[in-house]
């Protein structure tokens, strides 16, 4: 039987990427000169875990690289080096490299090793420079040869008192290897911390034939001499937590008796025996796992050991594997936030779908219930009302599961802006607002790349060099602002800058040169702005690695459109540009107002509706052509007759006979003329694109309680469609 270690790779990669994110965030928060120790610890822990994990999985390149980082971080942690701008820069680079290495290992793609060795070189240079500087009096980590009794003279002369000694009892569970842990690595790290004496317990080793090559049968009693903090030891065993019994005991140090050195080998047996005794747990206040059932764990381990000592341990193989599989979620949650679990998106989608169907069924029942008469009808309706409430709550909860704050995407920008600004020699202040705006995970994942592009674009093309800005009477520091908010039924994400704005003349000239625009065509500002979204269009004088290659804006627009959203650009020469991305929440369910137009029922999302009213003839004005407007609170709003738009025979043609629903979309308000309002209800969105095709003005369809299909209106699309008709 072999255990495929690759099954643990995914968890490792996922955890490592998350850990790198937190490392990056911590690095950016790091104050130069007076860094918070906890932040440095966080950063160190990340490097350490990735090193450990990659070493045990055999990703030796990553392990070697992270080892260098760890060494540097350890210097920072111990105060041997001070955090400087240069160091934090290099560390940020190491985050990138680690990420790239992990990614290439994960996807089994080759990696540019030149970059890796460059950064590693920088890191090692820094450590070397530090070592050349006035040396720290503490001894450099000695690769202590284990099981060696030191000459009593050497350490005794170095320290006035006997150095403290840790007694470590390390009893791995069988599945330790399968979890990607290697005791050898731990020993190596311990040996770096101090002088390590190793005693192996082979009593659990089965006969060769019965040996399961992937199970760990060995146990160790270790002695670590030296002034080693408990945390450092625990850190070595961090990844094995839950896969072993671990006991730490501090002895020596208190009494300056020089005898401890000489009995290094002989004395091991005695305390070791003590350690094996479960009753000593009470005194071992420093038991590593600090978990309450430590004694129980020890007992279990004993049971396993005694069981394995008997020559009938053969069937251990199969159960071990299942244990590994079962325990995997534990391992994951233990590393991540203990209050959360990982659930695959498919499961949630399945749940969403079921809830969607439930909502339809509930609507159907409500409709039936409303028509019932008789003694029990009232009770039934009360029950149905409760069902409706519960369904709504259930559906909201499920929906919230899929929602994540946009800060997940925004969080990558501080770093990016910092890097690009540095490279271009620009000074940029990044402002993030509305980070807590939640949106669907799928949308969130897909909006990242377009946003990156826009922000890069703003920095590269938008914000001017400091001297240019000063000359223009602006602050030398440019501002890039990322904002997210709910607007109507949508999420609006804005990327704005206070840079130079778009040069309309140049865009137009370029477009003419490329034959995209006829030489005599006159374009509106909006149309000119639209040009930059065309494929292959770039006005940058020289292409940089950031932008100007002419791939980009068209891709941005395509990505946004694929999400059912749209992108707009507002720009003023000399003042800056604003890209506004409007995204649908793309939730599976929407609160809608059903309206009747002739024999058809349409759903208008409630969130788009301002109010509904019956028009008086006096408030209606007719403009030239077909256009009708009505006065609404001092404004004149255009009227869109839905029956005309959709080609339905209406019951009412005269405006005062029907109703207008004042709806808002895209920052504009219009009055939608309908025959009647039917009721408000939640409807499940069934995609029209997937099942049929895109229809302007319709965002989807739904199944009503009576089984008929109603179209869900997209107010923005309707406004657009109507203005096209009016223009035609």
């Amino acid at each position: 039987m072999t255990i495929d270690l690759t099954q643990f790779h995914d968890a490792f990669f996922e955890e490592s990427f998350e850990a790198l994110d937190s490392m990056e965030a911590a690095l950016l928060k790091l104050d130069i000169g007076a860094p918070e120790p906890e932040l440095i610890n966080t950063i160190f822990r990340v490097a350490h875990s990735i090193k450990g994990g990659s070493a045990t999985f055999g990703f030796s390149d990553i392990a070697s690289f992270t080892h260098s980082c760890e060494t540097l971080l350890d210097e920072l942690r111990s105060g041997g080096m001070q955090v400087s701008l240069v160091i934090s820069d290099v560390l940020l680079k190491t985050v990138d490299v680690m990420r790239a290495m992990l990614r290439s290992t994960q996807s089994k793609q080759p990696l540019d090793m030149q970059k890796v060795s460059d950064v590693q070189f920088d890191v090692e240079m820094m450590i070397a420079q530090k070592n050349n500087a006035p040396a720290k009096p503490a001894a450099a980590p000695v690769k202590a040869a284990p099981a060696v009794v030191p000459a009593p003279a050497a350490p005794a002369s170095a320290a006035p008192a006997t150095p403290p000694r840790w007694e470590i009892s390390f009893r791995p569970y069988r599945e330790l290897f399968a979890r990607g842990n290697d005791p050898l690595r731990m020993m190596r790290e311990l040996a770096e911390l101090g002088e390590l004496t190793v005693n192996v317990d082979v009593s659990a080793l089965p006969r060769f034939e019965e040996l399961d090559a992937q199970s760990c049968y060995l146990a160790w009693k270790l002695e670590l001499a030296g002034d080693v903090p408990e945390d450092a030891i625990k850190q070595v065993f961090e990844w094995a937590e839950g896969d072993c019994d671990l006991e730490l005991r501090l002895t020596g140090g208190a009494t300056p008796a020089s005898g401890t050195n000489t009995n290094a080998n002989g004395a091991v047996a005695a305390p070791a025996a003590e350690l094996a005794d479960p009753s000593s747990n009470a005194t071992a206040s420093t038991a590593a796992s600090a978990s309450a059932p430590a004694a129980a764990d020890a007992a279990v381990a004993d049971a396993i050991l005694s069981g394995a000592a008997a020559p009938t341990a053969a069937p251990a193989g199969a159960p071990t594997l299942t244990a590994v599989k079962d325990a995997k979620p534990d391992a994951i949650s233990a590393v991540g936030d203990s209050g959360s679990i990982r659930v695959s998106v498919e499961k949630i989608d399945e749940l969403m779908n079921t809830v969607g169907e439930l909502v339809i069924t509930q609507a159907m029942l409500s409709q039936l219930g409303a028509a019932l008469e008789g003694g029990n009808a009232e009770k039934l309706r009360a029950g149905l009302a409760q069902l409706e409430r519960n369904t709504r709550e259930l559906q909201e909860s499920v929906m919230r599961v899929r929602m994540l704050p946009i800060s997940f995407v925004f969080s990558r920008f501080p770093r990016m802006v910092r890097d690009i600004a540095q490279r271009l020699g620009k000074q940029i202040d990044l402002k993030l607002t509305g980070e807590q705006t939640e949106l669907d995970k799928t949308v969130l994942e897909k909006i990242g790349d377009p946003l990156v592009h826009l922000v890069r674009n703003s920095i590269d093309h938008g914000i001017e060099m400091p001297d240019v800005r000063m000359a223009a009477g602006k602050d030398a520091i440019g501002t890039v602002h990322l904002d997210a908010c709910h607007r109507g039924g949508n999420i609006a994400v804005e990327v704005s800058d206070d840079g130079g704005g778009l040069d309309k003349e140049r865009i137009l000239a370029k477009a003419r040169q490329r034959g995209l625009v006829g030489p005599n065509d006159v374009l509106t500002d909006e149309q000119i702005h639209d040009l930059i979204f065309l494929p292959g269009f770039s006005t940058a004088e020289k292409t940089t690695d950031l932008s100007g290659r002419g791939v980009g804006m068209d891709v941005v627009r395509r990505n946004v459109k694929e999400l059912g959203g749209k992108i707009e650009l507002r720009s003023e020469r000399g003042k800056g540009s604003r890209f506004i991305i409007t995204l649908p929440l793309t939730l599976a369910i929407v609160d809608g107002q059903s309206v009747a137009v002739g024999s058809e029922t349409y759903i208008i999302p409630l969130i788009s509706i301002v109010e509904s009213m019956r028009l008086k003839e006096t408030s209606i004005s007719r403009l030239s052509g077909h256009n009708e407007v009505f006065s609404f609170r001092g404004d004149y709003l255009p009227i869109i007759r839905l029956h005309e738009l959709f080609g339905v025979e209406p019951r009412a043609r005269a405006l005062h006979e029907g109703l207008v629903v004042i709806a808002e979309g895209d920052g504009r308000r219009v009055g939608l003329f309908v025959d009647d309002l039917l009721g408000q209800q939640q409807v499940v969105i069934k995609s029209l694109e997937v099942n049929y095709g895109h229809v302007e003005g319709v965002s989807g369809a739904t199944i009503l309680g009576d089984g008929s299909v109603a179209l869900i209106l997209d107010v923005t699309g309707i406004i657009h469609a109507a203005s096209m008709r009016a223009a035609a």
Partner: protein, 120 residues
């Protein structure tokens, strides 16, 4: 930056060092009673290592383990070898080492298995 020529030199040597002898993934016998242990002896290879050694368990003569190719070894790999050596001994049969493997010796030392393996 302050990366001068000196830096390039160091980088070059480091890349030189990084070149590794490609490990052979399969074990092969070196004649009767002899066995060459593969370059990679990690948990992923432990199963095949055990299978290879199993054939020699009952060998009546002296078994020679050629460790000179070993590049990488972890606890799981060493555990297999240690179990093999112990089992042979309990049957009153010998195991002999051929060649040296710094990775293996260092690992045995760190894990406290040197004496069991009679690696001195």
């Amino acid at each position: 930056m302050n990366k001068s020529k000196q830096g390039t030199a160091t980088r070059a040597t480091r890349r030189g060092r990084a070149v590794k002898t490609p490990g052979t993934a399969t074990e092969h016998k070196t004649g009767s009673g002899g066995f060459a242990i593969a370059a990679e002896c990690t948990v992923a290879d432990a199963g095949s290592l055990k299978a290879g050694l199993a054939k020699l368990l009952d060998d009546t003569g002296m078994v020679t383990l050629d460790i000179s190719a070993v590049q990488r070894i972890d606890t799981a790999g060493l555990q297999v070898i240690a179990t093999f050596v112990r089992e042979r001994e309990s049957r009153g049969r010998q195991v002999e080492w051929h060649g040296t493997a710094p990775a293996l010796s260092a690992a045995a030392k760190l894990l406290g298995l040197s004496s069991l393996l009679k690696l001195s």
